[in-house]
């Protein structure tokens, strides 16, 4: 039953994809209509003006460029021109560092907030105000105070991805079944041991859901931060190709950003499955 469902879903997905590519191709076909111009003038103009080629690239242009990039992902032509593999590597490294910092801060703090109603109420207004601030708004402040663009990018990832983890951890900890806590108290288990052996496994699914949301946000933020700060990374690559109005490369970068984001999410989904338990 399941395999038949999967098969049918796959067929529908592929059909949707083919339909989308078809519509894309038709929409970006060259119109051919072009103003008349002298041959000398035509030599100095781009293909949009001379051959009526659409400014938006078609699926075959994107496919060809993508193949080029995949063939040599790790080239290095200098500080401003590196292969996509290297750029993605830089971005993932930055995300990793910022995310790790966020985990180190969010989970213990979340535990504290979850276990103590006093701290919960006290910190609540600060969390609510800081949570909705966009990473792009943090960026200038970070650059001004931290004075280093690499560290500023990592700080911005940290400050934006800490909230879902923090709130989910707090919620997970607070929502542990009272019966289990009471049993632990009856058995005279110490606070720290109770936290690690009872509360943590019980709250783990919620904590990991929070982590999964956070990794998505961290990946989102790094692209925006790199576009602003430049240097290396997939966000910088998007901005560099945007400078050259190379929409083909921008589309390829968008696709890769989506694929990597999906992979990161799947990794955390696997961890979530490992700690889930039937109620």
């Amino acid at each position: 039953m399941t395999s038949s469902l999967r098969l049918r879903a796959a067929i529908v997905s592929i059909a949707l994809f083919v339909a989308f590519v078809g519509v894309w191709h038709i929409a970006t076909r060259s119109t051919g209509a072009v103003a008349s111009m002298s041959p000398e003038y035509a030599k100095l103009m781009g293909v949009t003006a001379t051959a009526g080629k659409s400014a938006m690239p078609g699926p075959f242009d994107v496919g060809a460029k993508l193949w080029e990039h995949v063939k040599q992902p790790f080239y290095d032509n200098g500080p401003n021109d590196k292969g996509l593999g290297i750029q993605l590597g830089y971005s993932i490294a930055r995300v990793g560092l910022g995310y790790l910092l966020a985990v180190i801060v969010a989970i213990p703090l979340g535990f504290l907030i979850g276990m103590s109603p006093l701290i919960n109420q006290a910190l609540d207004p600060f969390i609510q105000v800081l949570k909705p601030i966009s990473p792009l708004a943090w960026m200038p402040l970070a650059l001004y105070t931290i004075k280093d663009s690499g560290l500023s990018a990592i700080f911005v990832i940290f400050i934006c991805s800490v909230w879902p983890m923090l709130l989910n951890t707090a919620f997970g900890v607070a929502a542990v079944r009272k019966e289990w806590i009471n049993v632990a108290r009856t058995l005279e288990v110490g606070t720290l041991r109770r936290a690690f052996t009872v509360i943590l496994p019980a709250a783990a699914p919620t904590i990991l859901t929070g982590m999964r949301i956070s990794i998505g946000i961290a990946w989102l933020v790094i692209v925006a931060a790199e576009m602003l700060v430049g240097g290396t990374g997939i966000g910088y690559f998007v901005w560099n190709e945007w400078n050259n109005l190379s929409i083909t490369n921008v589309i390829i970068a968008i696709l890769l950003i989506g694929v990597v984001g999906m992979l990161l999410d799947q990794i955390l989904a696997r961890f979530t499955r490992m700690v889930t338990f039937p109620e």
């Binding site: 100095l44 103009m45 650059l143 280093d148 430049g230 560099n240």
Partner: protein, 461 residues
């Protein structure tokens, strides 16, 4: 007569006056021309330093040149060298001199924005000008003017490409704390243009432009001042009658296509790209507003200049060299090909060629030629700084009394650059101030306040 001439040459005068064949302005120029003909490599740093020290010693020992030449003719060059070395430690002195002249930091980072204005900075890397002066410079592409400013202040960059008014604004502390910056060289003169959207083909009289939206790269830029000047001369108040927005240059073409703006005053490669993609046409080249206006500059903080003076001097020499090379029309095509790849400007080669060689499509079906569309002259005239200060005051960016002369002299290093250019055999102007005309109106750098008060349209403060 150059410091680098051989002091042990009996037939050579050590005094300073023209060259031996009489056809060059200085002996250094003569040497260079002669070497170019003989295809010999120029002497290395150490050899030249040896010559400098020996030259100084010989001049001190024989104040009258005729006596020195007679001495050399009688004993011969090698004996003379041996005799002098007996009394004066030439080798040690040369080493000390060489160390004093060597750059403190060889690995430098220079930030740039990918526009043709930064051509001398960018081309220094692929065409080897930095290497020639003993530096290993990484030119780093930057996302925008504010980021360039921040990274130079943070010391992530040692020096950077900046808009000509930016070092003045940073030194005055406009919008942030005051950090002293200095400009040893102007990157380019001319090289901008007003591009309008294709739908405004018939609407080219600026008096009709009320209500239009224009984009400029940055508030503290020559683009802002030139556009405001142009609009004001045609009776349009740039603050109330039109909208001026700061947009990063790469986004200007996309914004023009999306109909968010009606036109922009931007660096030539952005204008040409808009024409190339068929979204705009060239209304006016900036040289038609002011021929010879500065646009971008090469700037460094005072801290870098005083902390690493030799690195700074070598960097300046490399930039001056590159600028002189770029000012020659026959080199432009080669430069366009060198700076087009993704590592540098990342634009189609033909767009850059059209900008640098001056033969370009104007967006309305015609091919125009203007060899001085963009030009490269490194001398930082202090009158440029005074003009920019008057415009800053005119539009309310700087308030109160302004000491024009002292700010101009602190930020624009005309005297130091003149010295460097003379040593390199380039011919710098003798004065640091000159008068020029903007749209027909003369500017006298000695009377900035009168100039400022002569404008009808200015910010009502």
């Amino acid at each position: 007569m150059s410091t680098f001439d051989d002091p042990f040459d009996a037939d050579r005068e050590l005094s300073r006056a023209g060259c031996v064949c009489g056809r060059h302005r200085s002996a250094a120029e003569h040497e260079r021309a002669a070497l170019a003909l003989r295809c010999e490599p120029v002497a290395s740093g150490e050899e030249r330093y040896e010559g400098v020290v020996a030259s100084a010693v010989m001049r001190a020992m024989f104040p009258r040149d005729a006596a020195r030449r007679a001495f050399l003719k009688s004993v011969g060059a090698s004996t003379a060298l041996a005799a002098v070395s007996q009394f004066f430690p030439l080798k040690t002195a040369t080493e000390a001199f060489a160390d004093a002249g060597a750059p403190e930091k060889k690995d430098l980072k220079v930030g740039f924005i990918p526009i043709t204005c930064a051509t001398p900075i960018i081309m220094g890397a692929p065409l080897g000008f930095y290497a020639k002066h003993g530096l290993n410079v990484e030119v780093v592409k930057t996302a925008g003017w504010a980021v360039v400013r921040d990274k130079t202040i943070n010391k992530e960059y040692d020096a950077a490409h900046m808009l000509a008014p930016m070092p003045i604004a940073i030194s005055l502390g406009l919008g942030a704390q005051a950090i002293p910056f200095a400009v040893p060289a102007i990157e380019n003169i001319n090289g901008q243009g007003i591009t309008l959207a294709m739908k405004h083909k018939e609407r080219r009289n600026p008096a009709d432009w009320k209500g239009m939206k224009f984009a400029i790269p940055f508030d503290y830029s020559m683009h802002n001042y030139l556009l405001r000047y142009y609009l004001a001369e045609h009776g349009i108040d740039p603050d109330t009658d039109v909208q001026l927005r700061s947009v990063p240059p790469p986004e200007m073409v996309a914004n023009l296509r999306a109909d968010n703006i009606d036109g922009f005053l931007a660096p030539d490669n952005v204008c040409q790209r808009a024409i190339y993609d068929g979204v705009g046409f060239m209304h006016l080249l900036s040289k038609e507003i002011w021929d010879g206006h500065p646009c971008c500059s090469f700037a460094a903080s005072r801290e870098f200049i005083t902390g690493s003076p030799n690195s700074f001097a070598a960097l300046t020499r490399a930039i001056l060299d590159a600028t002189a090379y770029a000012s020659k029309a026959e080199n432009r095509k080669q430069i366009a090909e060198a700076i087009a790849p993704a590592n540098y400007i990342n634009a189609p080669v033909t767009v850059l060629e059209q900008v640098l060689t001056g033969t370009y499509a104007d967006g309305l079906g015609g091919v125009k030629t203007d060899a001085k569309r963009v030009d490269f002259d490194p001398f930082p005239w202090q009158s440029f700084a005074v003009w920019m200060l008057t415009q800053m005051k005119r539009w309310g960016q700087v308030k109160g009394d302004v000491d024009y002369k002292s700010i101009a002299e602190q930020v624009y290093l005309a005297t130091d650059t003149r010295k460097a250019m003379t040593e390199m055999g380039l011919a710098p102007p003798a004065t640091s101030y000159k008068s020029f005309a903007v749209m027909g109106k003369t500017f006298d750098p000695a009377k900035p306040e009168d100039y400022l008060n002569s404008f009808k349209i200015r910010k009502s403060s």
